[in-house]
Point group: D3
Chain length 287, copies 6
């Protein structure tokens, strides 16, 4: 009669071995410059997930139809950034080597770096599709290179020009936009225009999909470290996620920057849960 | 010099006998599965209503021009669901038998069931127009049939096929959507497309209009028990309400699922107040 | 490297069979008359428990030294009070029959009733020690007998006069205080005076210990359904708990009425966690 | 079956003519220097009062036993301080002239000034007992004399030396404390020591009792405009209120400075409600 | 190594003499009728401004490129409305006479009145472009003429017919809309249609631009005194601001009605910061 | 007429050269294990300090009488713990070498370590008086030695046995208490008993005074990273601070662990402000 004390995202309680996709959390916010709290993101997503259904009427699919393992959260040390990143990298690698798709729940956006490192080792031709409010292309932030504000720049150092495709960017300093305009990345500001064309271009290429949830408008998603006015709506983001899942060969993915202490009314975590469900189902439709 | 301690929605202080429309509150949230608090909805609407005007610039009408009685809240027992529903049914019946339009303020969505029962007795040919994020068509919820998640299914058991017209639905389990697609109800997902056609179809038929406020996007309306990302905007909902008021013969109505404890910044209650004002004025324009 | 997704109170992850004490949650708040939300209490206690230590410097004991199983939460139906109570009774009985001590986490205070029923069947000579702000001795509340405001009255109907010992009571209606003064229960208002004497009197008798956390001052414990000014301090409550654990033969216990939506600053859940740890360790010292 | 929409403090619904005591609210916070919001105080007290009982176990009295009229709130203009104060003065006078005891609910502390003016006209030998965290003895505040920080100074200008008895004061500027030490008022800092002696001294004298609720510790009463660490506990304040009610001839009274927007967890309004109940009952015991 | 304790909006730390534009705050909310708190607006904008960049990707300009002085806040008396307004008028005049553009940060909307007075003395042919949810054209509000609800009416008394251009108005009483329709102001309800035409009409005329931030939808901007459902989006407002800055000869401007105590999740202050940055940069592009 | 944009703690605007005491902030929370946010502490203390007076009635002293410089906050990198600690150490050293008393505002408690390092270089015979809820004596925390949970252990490694005097400790793991009992530090649990004796023992010795504000009860001080039930009251803490200031030769001091995002009702920051004022004034009385 008792529930087990197991605590998954919805019904994603498949054992690792039987799963196609492995969720795991990286409760890390050690380089957040404005409002910390993203460390509480993965657990909030699990706790609140029972407030939505496991079924998507848009996709006419249910999480019960697919095989996802929610592996829980990594135990990350506080105050030791390199050690935390190493743990994320090792975990991503383990999942990739088992032939499964890793889906990382941040935490702040810097968690993308080690996951990309692991994926690039497995898939040397890796490309990145990046949804975000912020360009994240700084060379350093207050002298620190391993910062959430620099994460795509660090990824670019690994992958090089022409590999990173940024969408809906609406904030950054002048240098970041110059860097993109110089051709190091392809950047679409404000919205998702051109996504179809990019997806055609990436046909057959392995793709890492990283979604910083602050791409959403702060009205829809206040619970984040650096809210930036003027973002996209939830249906716009969901539509873009469907496009990526249908049109790209996604080999790893992440969703980052939910910060529950700033989640007024608890609407941000519900948006994150629904987006995660749609991403899982949409990826499955095209595997 | 003292205000009386009377506490109405805006200036809706007409005595019952002189009113065309009778507002009353059903402070009930006994079957809410996720976040309770809708019990505080009707009183919050009254308390905060003085933050808006009694005049609608869209309709160029003022509540002072029409005759509404705010009858206050029912005294409902906590923990005895059938007794609470009976009290709502009796009150609705009393208003209908006096030849007035009952406008019920929830409370959770289950309060619609007894009001529909009373209205269906008075108007055997009753039809329902239903705005909501959720289909509410479950057979039961965790073994309980009298649940907010089942309320339209219970209504269907009373009215039968072809009587229920659902709009802007964006959540439910697979069975609920199958039930609708099987023709038991007419369901429009995500938005209000087809509302005009439905209204033409319902010409001359008595209509119960039920509006679960979580049909609004959680950005606009965070203060609700089960926020579901991706809802309609306030102007979209207001427009649809104007259409219903103009195009249907509404004999009873409700507005449900405002949950003040989750109303970040107090914006949800203000949206509910404005929608209620517009509904009252729009219904009056066409009586 | 991954945490399991198991989610216990601190390190209370012993299997049922190896445990002396079994924690379980009853996420029920269906009869709460003022502010609902106690349904979220047990899960909040688990989630936040890692903010405290497993070691008590006062008792010089650690939860790692003792054998507690956290069995998780019961799956309770919303809106069907008798069914929920039956599930709690059955679970309590199962634990008692396995020779273990059940420790129930509410939920609202009505959850005590089915646990007392189960315990009284096992121990016909059962006595109750009751810490609370409220007398909970009403005959009914708005016509409903199965209400959190009546729970000790219902227990009295089972056990009879001279079995219930109430402490720190500071609220109730006139009839409740008359009922106690008439000798049906022994009631100490405001504080814990006389607890030692009561414990001597109960020597050798089986005791059910129920602690409604609103006995604490609202400053210390704002996160509760019915805060009542003028309560006891945390050290006063902890001291009384040590006395009960040392001086009574506790056969079952509960901690109730944490309501996380009203827990400003998250201090109430931390107080609940610490009290639960101290209760578990103190009971063990004397088993 | 419907509740009337009347909205009183608990059961204080006696008509003016049959009442001994008349409650009324002055929703005014126009001179608050730090955190405004006290305007919402009186309505919050009414709305939340049903969360406590009408019976006091300490006094063994019930509000149903006594005759209190809750007259509602004054309609005060925003931004016109003198007009607001005039309205309060007129209302207080009307109640006094009807031979009833006015009990004013603030609003900020400046509302005391017009009530004292009215009372001093009726009772030229008026004395004041003042409970507060702040001395409120400034000559002016940022050049403004009609300020909550100056209210007792303004009262002193009306009544003169030896008439004002201040207790539990723990904040002010150097000049305010010098003013008190110079003998213009009798001031007890930090606590209520000497209250008995003062009450003996005031035997037979008419007393205005003013209680700024920020005299309570901010832990107990966070919902106030100027929280000041280190205040008294609720039982200490209640005890002092019982002493005043029993030992002084109170002819008018007020309770001020509840600011609901800062009331974390809703505990401040509950403390205000309970104190108001105890004050009403205690005053009645000795009329 | 220490930061200075200087606290500006972003990098707007130019000395007065070297600046083209002078920001200053008027922390005044003395006539707010519903929810006070706008007094905290200017300081919140400064404190939180480091959460956004100084660079605008839309305008490709950086605040470091232009010369803005943030002069801090005026010291305004609480409870003396005329004195507060005089101080704002004098400060605006000083900036205008120094040949600089004053940019006033409210505070409530009444602060616009003294700034318009000062600007109209300097520019007798002054016109006003007004973005707001509310018409603010009342003759008086509860008998008070110096009220935020009357501010544009007071401005009209100074400037006369044909000088005030209102956009996106969605609330007011019947008289206010009649007043506008009678030709005293030109009012566009709900949105910014016709702004281009107005700007052509105002070619060469000095313009005071006043932006009440509650023109934004409450979802985007909950932190305001009188949230009104159904407002414009941030991109819509930013676009209109760009149009005004490019098409009008703005001689003074203000941004008002941010109320931080109601800013759920801190998103309103971030929106205000971004809008202020865009306004400063856009005005500079066309100076 | 404008305020300067300087933003100090109250009136502590003396230039460095003329000051006896130099306040500075270390907005660092990079190793916080539970709830981050202490980075916002120093700025919150400055922003809200105008809610209290500069005068202490207990000490009969005013900050205007003494010479304190508020030097603002250090610019600390996010995500680089050693660099942040180095900056704090350098700043502390600079102040000490100028012959002034450094008073550091955290930030989390780890900021004490670099300040102690600097002070121990200047005063090799340095002793520490430590007020805290937590022992902070761990060897490491999740493998990290530079953690707020280990800070006193790190200090002990610098100073050795017999130099650290801990008071009011009520939490830690078993090893930490064993470490203290083994004589490495002198630890008083729960309260300040024995403080006088310790102060006599430290006569003539240089003392670093570190106060983790979570020593206060969470009711009084909810705004902290790791609230622990059962702490001391504000008057108890203030009294102990007066004793330390009067009885010890304090050469440097800090106040840490205010975390504004969790400061319900804003009472924690006000308590921190008042304690800081009392500490500054009390230290000055005895310099």
């Amino acid at each position: 009669m008792l529930n087990s004390v197991t605590n998954c995202f919805l019904c994603c309680d498949n054992p690792f071995d039987r799963a196609d996709t492995v969720l795991f959390g990286a409760p890390f916010d050690g380089t957040v410059s404005y409002r910390p709290g993203a460390r509480f993101g993965p657990q909030a997503i699990r706790n609140e997930s029972w407030g939505i259904e496991s079924y998507s009427p848009v996709l006419d699919k249910d999480l019960q139809d697919i095989r996802v393992c929610d592996g829980g959260d990594l135990d990350l040390p506080f105050g030791d950034v390199p050690a935390a990143l190493d743990a994320i990298e090792a975990q991503t690698e383990e999942i990739l080597q088992a032939g499964k798709l890793p889906l990382l729940l941040g935490g702040e956006h810097l968690v993308t770096l080690p996951a990309v490192k692991a994926a690039a080792r497995q898939y040397p031709d890796l490309h990145i599709i990046h949804f975000d409010a912020h360009a994240d292309l700084r060379q350093d932030y207050l002298g620190v290179g391993l910062s959430h504000a620099c994460v795509l720049r660090r990824c670019w150092e690994i992958l090089g020009d022409g590999r990173i495709f940024q969408f809906a960017i609406r904030s950054g300093d002048r240098e970041e936009f110059r860097f993109a305009r110089a051709g190091h990345t392809r950047m679409q500001t404000q919205d998702f225009q051109g996504l179809d064309e990019v997806l055609r271009h990436l046909q057959g290429k392995p793709v890492y999909f990283t979604c910083d949830l602050d791409v959403l408008d702060p009205a829809v998603f206040p619970g984040t470290g650096t809210p930036e006015a003027g973002g996209v709506s939830f249906p716009q983001l969901a539509q873009a996620v469907y496009q990526v899942a249908a049109g790209a060969q996604v080999v790893a993915a992440d969703i980052t920057e939910l910060s529950p202490p700033y989640d007024s009314g608890g609407i941000s975590v519900m948006a994150a849960c629904k987006l995660l469900r749609e991403l899982l189902l949409a990826l499955h439709c095209h595997q």
